[in-house]
């Protein structure tokens, strides 16, 4: 059933993707149009395929020259496209977190359920980190940056259209509807007119000063899904930045819902771990 719905959905998405660019000009002028663009952008960034698995390398860099590396395997399954998702993460590096696993059941409308498994004491811990703004594994990416922020949480305005590194982009300003729901006062996004890829995003703090910049440094088409395989988040106020590489990205592996469970936390199955 889920597969049928997926095939149907991808057909619709595929149909609309090429002509999305044509529509964007038409609906970009209204606030609703800008929201629709951001919604499409969230789908492209965080919901491509029915499920997905990738090896992630994060380099955490400080302006003093310090470098820390996190290597993990991340699997994701959409329970509902644009809605609930499940994430499974297996840490491979550094040594103090190696073999730790992390399970997230994400709900756009309420706090995620999160579990962390600590292999040294075989403990499955429930994480109360309801703050989506917390840093993900000490990087410049917040939980929200990794798993997505629903377009409905912000008010969006189209600022302009321009060229970004040779591509036609729409520049959209987003202000959180609930000030407390975000660590930014507003953000500005550069969204590809053709395929809704997010090329760049600037986050401004509550006083209006720029503090974080996201860039998609390399986007590849994998199984037909545009995928940012290299991305950077830079904190311009501290000079700390994080470079992320996605390798061995695969979509539509047919991961079962039951795989995102305590059993996998304690004993990661090959389909998630390798």
């Amino acid at each position: 059933m889920a597969r049928k719905r997926f095939v149907w959905l991808s057909a619709v998405v595929l149909l609309f993707l090429p002509i999305g660019g044509l529509f964007s000009r038409a609906f970009a002028g209204t606030p609703g149009g800008a929201e629709e663009i951001m919604r499409q952008s969230v789908l492209v960034q965080f919901y491509s395929g029915n499920d997905m698995k990738t090896k992630v390398t994060m380099r955490l860099l400080s302006k003093e020259g310090g470098e820390r590396v996190r290597e993990l395997i991340m699997a994701r399954r959409n329970v509902k496209t644009g809605g609930d998702q499940k994430y499974f993460i297996l840490f491979r590096q550094p040594a103090d977190v190696r073999d730790m696993t992390f399970l997230v059941w994400k709900y756009p409308q309420r706090d995620s359920d999160r579990w962390l498994y600590i292999p040294a004491i075989k403990l499955v811990k429930r994480i109360a980190a309801n703050d989506k703004r917390s840093s993900f594994v000490g990087s410049d990416f917040s939980y929200e940056d990794v798993s997505g922020r629903a377009a409905e949480e912000d008010n969006h305005t189209l600022l302009r259209e321009e060229k970004y590194e040779g591509k036609d982009v729409l520049v959209i300003k987003s202000i959180p509807k609930d000030e407390k729901s975000a660590d930014f006062g507003y953000k500005v996004s550069w969204v590809d007119k053709g395929n809704f890829v997010l090329w760049k995003e600037e986050y401004y703090d509550k006083r209006g000063a720029l503090f974080k910049v996201f860039t998609a440094d390399e986007v590849k088409s994998i199984q037909g899904f545009p995928t940012a395989v290299k991305r950077t988040m830079k904190n311009v106020q501290t000079g700390h930045w994080t470079e992320v590489t996605y390798e061995e990205v695969k979509y539509n592996l047919g991961l079962a819902d039951g795989v995102f469970s305590e059993r996998s936390l304690r004993n990661p199955p090959k389909e998630l771990a390798r």
């Binding site: 820390r68 359920d113 075989k122 499955v124 309801n130 039951g258 305590e262 059993r263």
Partner: protein, 415 residues
């Protein structure tokens, strides 16, 4: 077993150069740790509570059909006990004879339940001495020689553990930390020790533990059963001046899930002290009902608060009170324990400040453990903290440790 661990360790180390060729995963760390007393303790001959260097080796090898062999052992130079030691922490085989069955056989660390440092239905051995002297958290748990069957039929999941060979918890016995001698009714003097008798390794003494669990939306529910022994020596045999582990059965349950922007948990257990069901034998711990209520929340970004309330209600209290010999420590019917953990993460989560506190209003005792840890690089970390104990009476859990306040420092390099 120690000899085996030492041999296996050296074999593992000699494998290091060819680990990548064999597709073997080889990791571990080298750690130096020291700790000393903050107060003069007349019951203790040494000022050091910890003086050790350890090498941990962890090996894992994937086999056919989702099987895996896992080995973890420590080689330890211990200045306090003035000896070298090998400690086989874990050594087990994982395999799945069917898609819905996982089996783990061998020495393994077992953990379940919802408490933070408070255990009701987790009746697997612990090393409380390690915890009280400031070793890293992983040393709080001790491996059991066991077979664990995990079944996943669909609607629920089931863990069934059989432990044929009893492993006790490690409790203060005078070597590093003071203990209350119930035969003499006072804190033991230096070099005083009490023999502890372990249950014989017979088929009838095999411990069984069971957990039945499933999720209900965001909530996790579990039922537990246990048949075995107390893991702390709460039985006294005056004829032989010996402590022992009385027979115990436990039935309990737990629930955990989101609550008021945080996570709440509730766990309970009925402790059936099978060798003293009427509660009239003051030499054996009475049956009890135990309840734990916990709540955790990220109060603001990177600042976590966890609070717990633990209640032990002694059953057959009338029997206990009537049979209590004059002068013997009088336990209360209700033991209340409050727990608080504050955690603050700083500098891209490389610095962690934490404070763990226990306080029992009924026993009038408690402890505090402030700690700071810093990940200097990905492979190098340092942690320092203190364990401060207080108590009005010598026979309570923290009261007996009143003079054992200690400061510790650990430095670890991982590979």
């Amino acid at each position: 077993m120690k000899c085996f661990a030492a041999v296996a360790l050296s074999a593992a180390l000699s494998l290091y150069p060819c680990a990548s060729v064999l597709a073997l995963s080889l990791h571990g760390f080298v750690e130096g740790a020291g700790g000393f007393r903050l107060k003069d303790d007349p019951a203790q001959a040494r000022d050091a509570t910890m003086e050790e260097v350890r090498l941990q080796v962890e090996l894992s090898q994937d086999g056919p059909a989702d099987s895996r062999l896992f080995f973890k052992a420590d080689l330890l130079g211990d200045g306090v006990e003035e000896r070298w030691d090998a400690d086989l922490r874990e050594f087990y085989l994982d395999f799945s004879p069917a898609p819905v069955i996982d089996i783990r056989a061998g020495r393994q660390i077992l953990t379940w339940g919802t408490g933070d440092l408070i255990f009701i239905n987790d009746l697997f051995p612990k090393d409380f001495v390690s915890f009280f002297i400031g070793r890293s958290l992983e040393y709080l748990k001790v491996g059991s020689d066991a077979v664990k069957f995990s079944l996943y039929p669909g609607l629920f999941s089931l863990d069934l553990v059989a432990v044929p060979h009893f492993t006790p918890s490690v409790v203060p016995q005078g070597e590093r930390l003071s203990f209350f001698n119930p035969f003499t009714n006072r804190i033991a003097v230096p070099d005083e020790s009490l023999p502890i008798r372990k249950p014989a390794a017979t088929p009838a003494n095999t411990e069984l533990a069971l957990r039945l669990y499933r999720t209900f939306g965001s909530y996790e529910g579990a039922l537990y059963g246990f048949r075995g022994f107390f893991h702390e020596p709460v039985g006294m045999d005056p004829a032989n001046q010996t402590l022992f582990f009385p027979k115990l059965s436990v039935y309990g349950g737990s629930i955990r899930g989101p609550f008021l922007q945080g996570v709440a948990n509730f766990e309970f257990g009925h402790y059936d002290s099978r060798e003293d069901r009427p509660g009239t034998n003051p030499l054996i711990e009475n049956a009890s009902l135990r309840y734990l209520l916990g709540y955790e929340r990220e109060l603001w970004t990177n600042f976590f608060v966890r609070a717990q309330y633990y209640l032990v209600q002694m059953l057959k209290y009338g029997g206990f009170k009537a049979s209590l010999p004059p002068g013997a420590p009088e336990m209360k019917e209700y033991r209340h324990l409050l727990f608080l953990r504050l955690t603050r993460l700083l500098r891209y989560q490389t610095v962690e400040l934490s404070l763990v506190g226990f306080y029992s209003p009924s026993d009038e005792d408690g402890m505090a453990n402030p700690q700071i840890s810093y990940k200097i690089t990905d492979g190098l970390s340092v942690a320092s903290g203190a364990n401060i104990f207080f108590g009005k009476k010598d026979f309570t859990l923290f009261g007996q440790l009143d003079k054992d306040d200690n400061l510790y420092l650990r430095l670890r390099a991982s590979y």
